[in-house]
Symmetry: C2
Subunit: 291 residues, 2 copies
């Protein structure tokens, strides 16, 4: 069984990115610059954004954190977005979700310049991706593709079952894996909350991508021998025996499923670390586009 190690893979990728930054610096080229917009003080969002900024620093990117008050109006945030669009020093930026309820997320998303949309959430990028044009690919599915490629997991002609149809994971990975190209050409089934007899589907799957958000949902009796399992789930589960009071669980009953799998991502340390690395990769791509 191969453990698809997102921690070491993302470190390798970040080292490659760092080398490219060093080369750019030596050549007198622009250093990639990522900004992150954070509204309010949600704990998880603070953690994610902090981690993104630290990763930028580690590989030599320039980074800017724009931390705004919870009470900012939609209009003020749109003005901020407009400034970021016009800021020539900036290659890309992200707006950390979720936003406070009084702000329309779709409106904010649509205001982001697609050329700086390194999260790949703007419909213009999403459409370009789906139509196989050059595009920023959302970081999580991009990270899954990167990991499948680096571990040379054969996908062509394989039956891949994706569980979950979210805009940021299930939908884009189902598109990417059924397109032509490496880590593509799979026959992809997209399953979701309305799917009947999911077990009958997952039992047929050569590859399963779990992006449901229900801890330990996928059990050993739902998969066949030799399956490849990608677990995108990250849920905090209360555990009083643990110092933090919780543990992180994926969508997969790891021990049971790992015993039958030919390859599997752990949680934590699987898809998660890849996501930040791919955001950095998108930022470098955005910077290179402007050379």
């Amino acid at each position: 069984m191969i453990l698809l190690n997102g921690k070491s893979t993302s470190e390798a990728l970040k080292n490659e990115l760092k080398e490219k930054v060093d080369q750019r610096r030596a050549a007198g080229k622009k250093i990639p610059h990522l900004a992150a917009v954070l509204v309010g003080n949600d704990g998880a969002s603070l953690t994610y954004v902090g981690s993104k900024v630290r990763s930028c620093e580690k590989i030599g990117f320039q980074s800017t954190l724009i931390h705004l008050e919870e009470t900012i109006s939609e209009m003020e945030l749109l003005q901020q977005i407009d400034q970021l669009n016009q800021d020539e020093s900036l290659d890309g930026y992200i707006v950390q979700l979720p936003l406070p309820k009084h702000i329309n997320e779709e409106k904010i998303l649509l205001a982001i310049d697609p050329n700086k949309d390194v999260d790949g959430f703007h419909p213009s990028n999403f459409g370009r991706m789906a139509l196989e044009m050059d595009a920023f690919i959302p970081a999580t599915p991009f990270g899954i593709i990167e990991m499948l490629e680096r571990y040379q997991i054969e996908t062509s002609g394989k039956h891949c079952v994706v569980v979950g149809r979210s805009h940021i994971v299930g939908r884009p990975i189902s598109i990417l894996m059924s397109q032509k190209g490496t880590a593509g050409n799979a026959t992809v089934t997209l399953a979701h909350s309305r799917t009947k007899d999911l077990k009958a589907l997952t039992l047929q799957a050569d590859i399963i991508v779990m992006a449901l958000g229900i801890p330990e949902f996928l059990k050993a009796d739902m998969v066949k021998e030799g399956v490849v399992v990608i677990d995108v789930g990250i849920t905090r589960v209360t555990d009083t025996s643990h110092p933090k009071g919780y543990v992180i669980r994926g969508d997969v009953d790891f021990d049971g499923v790992a015993a039958k799998a030919s390859a599997i991502t752990p949680v934590p340390g699987g898809v998660g670390p890849m996501t930040i690395a791919m955001l950095l990769k998108n930022t470098l791509l955005a910077c290179e586009r402007r050379d």
Copy 2:
């Protein structure tokens, strides 16, 4: 067995559109105006565009045919596109494909104002559709959804196998049918040229959408009893016994499959007629958006 009659369904839809146009006229509102750009003299393209223009006239739309020389340069065509984007009298327009080889289709496509892109081929529209925002949906998949709705075919929780991953049919219908909404919520498998053991998949399907372009590919022994079959294929097959020298065949061996199906589209007279009707519907939507 229900014959999913695209001819009568599209006539009903066009009558509804005509009524709306009459109401708009009576209210002193703008009449929908569609333009079609045709480059060169390809026989099939002439037929398609002619049919689109005639359909416009029948329901009271204004229509404009812009017929350009085969030898037009890419730059000149881009200038034409720019004029159409700026033409305030126009609600929407289409550029008939294929274009001559010296013209980059992607470049032309990207130049179309997404607000006038009633074919729904611009990545901005495609992305909006995939992200469940308000969008122009490409006419063929939109026509399939419309027909499934009008015949009240249950799709929620059903397993739908889409065969073919083209940007204009297979990909968008696989997205639409797996989204929330009427004619949605299906578990969708997207199969294509690299799929292994297609028969094992189609035998499981409650609904099959064939968009492969291989005449009479789907045989009776590949489907289960009660299947719903949507045939998007339109291929001219040589037939010297026929006055025209050819007959039109779909991707489905109709007689054999119809005997097992609970509902099926014929070819011709199925999905084909729906496509033009949906282009007209998109044009009305474009006009209404500007009210």
